[in-house]
Symmetry: C2
Subunit: 431 residues, 2 copies
């Protein structure tokens, strides 16, 4: 298959929230209290909610920049591509990158929107609902067929979360951003029955629990002075932890129709993981009393988990050990792991190197995403107009040149110090 | 290659310390203060050192038991095979299991012997030295060519550790049991220059840093109520963390001859790990300022790290992505992951299934172990007498029947509760 003939749905991208996020969706009485985007004296854009200041306005949104300008420090909207926060610009960037459709995770509210928690539960619930109405109705609604809608939970209240899942499903949303580890955030663990109303709502509405890497709030670094490369290398570790925690829990046994996506979790670790869970089962089930009704845990994994990868040559090579029906491509726009706008070429090279047949490519690049997320872009976009080649033709003239419009390019030393101070704060918060 | 023709050196087994551990190696003035093995009213054997009681006398030493009798609760020496603590019995068990030679990690003192720390530094140092003299001179010395000697560190004092490495190397010991993460134990991290005298001593004496899974003291469980299967599945996670922490540290750049074994760490995760470190390097080195002198981090990994596996079909299948010069077989006797006495058959089946040529089998089963650990069993045992078949002939008549001599077989419920109370204590200690 030629790279121009690929059809790409990305199941993991990121929305950098625009300043008018709450304008059209929050009751007038709450507008003053809603989080506001403000610029600090240092020139960073931060969200303020009451006394809370969230620095990560545009965390790591480096798509289009030269590698010398990568870094994790906060930035302002002036320093990122408009496609980060403007939906029309985003669709142009998607066209230029050959991406038919995209699912977007939240940024400043965190993956579980837990920053909306406050002393006023009515305000907090209103913020969650307004956020979901913005993303589903305004962002995704602006370009039908181009976005897989995703909701955020009312993480501090399971009954309200279940109700929100049902409310959003009626608007066509079948994805909920959730955490790898509720216990790490101070809520009941996956082993509690506390979450049962949510699991039931997900099953009733065919809503996928989309669990993004990093959503436990735990940092995967061995020591506070570990270099940033260690954290970048180890990021997928927490998602393996979530996969194990859910796989061995009562949740999948009680809710056999529940589906979970391991967003940005990669694929290459899965074959070893499945080997380990089957061996653990074989060796220890007599005393741990696990019972999957005659099936192996690896079979149960394939019924419940979607794995998401950017290019991941090892995972593609080992796809028969994972299951080609369980693998979905993702772009990770606008983060540094994204190869925008040349991701199709990178992915295509991995398919070619591993002799992947066309039917398997189709599963991994769009068919699995459509099935798992109950999403049909072709109701709005003709298949012939959905390919990498066709989309790029629509983007003719769109500026994809390397963009370095910031006047505030930091030195490598400043970036390293930015990482270190963040690591110190995170480790202190964990201790 | 026939299973009888395999030659097996195991680079990871475990000593369950005998009651007379310190008898022949500790100055008379310290004998009263040394740790003592005592039996509790409940029938458990525990080591007492001052006010400290260590319950893990025979943790998980279930070799030879039916799976129904597996569990993690403490046991007494009456409940384990004599080969756990008696060197002549151990050699008979090794013969029966077809194992030519074995390297043994400590049990009750922990992997770093940090339980020997006390208010009296002279006593503490004397205990470390006595422990090493016991294992090197008495245990390994009893059967030349059958054991790779390994020392424990004076973990609370780097200069004393360096001196102990040099002292033990003069006795032919080229392995030091160390921790995955000194920072997690309250010592300076791998990124500090505190450990430099130790790295220098290891390089000067060709001593391998043998870093065993679990040696950070951190438990890999997402929540206190996660079932035991989650912990068993995730055990290799901390060792990946150690590999990343050391690979990106200044240590390997400053000490290019330092060698590290990832004991019981498995192999199947390595291909994805190496892909991730190379991609991290390619994408981020401009700001993280990593510099391996023109080489890729995956190349640096292969120069420094030995990976250790029990059977691990995924790792064997992917051996070209790992490096067959970096893979060593291990048995893990007497723990539950060990397949004693049928490990050779299990390993052989994995080699057959993956069409592994004889020269690669030889590397993984004994040649790599000999080279990395400067160990030559053939100075003492003729090669023709070193094969699985030849050793088993020597063990004719040795009782390898399933042994269940305990009168205290616990119910599965008791075992689960034992796990849960240990998890609660460990999580409380981490918090």
């Amino acid at each position: 298959m030629d790279v121009d003939d690929l059809i790409l749905i990305s199941v993991d991208d990121h929305l950098i929230e625009p300043p008018d996020l709450f304008l059209n969706h929050l009751d007038a009485k709450y507008q003053d209290q809603a989080p506001k985007l403000v610029r600090t004296d240092e020139g960073n854009d931060v969200w303020k909610f009451g006394e809370i200041v969230m620095e990560t306005a545009a965390l790591n949104a480096v798509a289009g920049r030269p590698k010398e300008e990568y870094g994790l420090e906060p930035q302002s909207l002036d320093e990122v591509r408009p496609g980060c926060y403007d939906v029309d610009e985003r669709v142009m960037d998607m066209n230029a990158g050959g991406v038919l459709a995209s699912m977007n995770f939240p940024s400043f509210p965190t993956f579980t929107a837990r920053v909306f928690a406050s002393d006023d539960p009515d305000l907090s619930l209103a913020l969650v609902r307004a956020y979901n109405d913005f993303t589903i109705d305004e962002w995704c609604g602006a370009h039908p067929g181009r976005f897989i809608p995703m909701a955020v939970p009312v993480i501090w209240d399971v009954e309200q979360t279940a109700a929100e899942v049902r409310r959003c499903a009626e608007k066509g949303c079948h994805s909920l951003s959730f955490t790898e580890n509720p216990a790490a955030l101070g809520y009941p663990s996956f082993h509690s029955d506390y979450w049962d109303p949510l699991w039931q709502a997900c099953v009733d509405t065919a809503t996928v629990l989309s669990v993004h890497l990093g959503s436990s709030g735990r940092l995967s670094i061995p020591a506070v002075d570990s270099p940033p490369d260690v954290m970048i290398t180890l990021q997928p570790m927490n998602i393996q932890s979530a996969a194990a925690d859910l796989l061995w829990s009562r949740v999948l046994k009680t809710y056999p129709d529940l589906r979970i996506a391991l967003s940005e979790g990669g694929n290459g670790w899965v074959p070893y993981f499945l080997d380990r869970v089957d061996r653990t089962y074989e060796m220890h089930r007599a005393w741990t009393q696990q019972d999957f009704g005659g099936r192996l845990p690896s079979e149960v994994f394939r019924e419940h988990f979607l794995t998401c990868f950017i290019s991941d040559p090892i995972g593609v090579e080992m796809r028969d050990h994972i299951g080609v029906d369980n693998m979905c491509w993702e772009a990770d726009y606008p983060h540094s792991d994204s190869m925008w706008p040349t991701a199709p070429e990178e992915l295509h090279a991995v398919f070619v190197a591993n002799d992947v047949p066309d039917d398997e490519i189709a599963k991994m690049t769009y068919e699995n995403a459509m099935r798992w997320y109950s999403f049909d872009p072709f109701a709005h976009v003709a298949k012939s107009e959905a390919t990498v080649g066709a989309l790029r033709r629509q983007a003719a003239g769109h500026d994809v040149s390397i963009m370095s419009r910031s006047t505030r390019v930091r030195t490598a030393d400043e970036k390293l110090e930015g990482f270190r101070s963040r690591a110190r704060r995170a480790m202190a918060a964990q201790a």
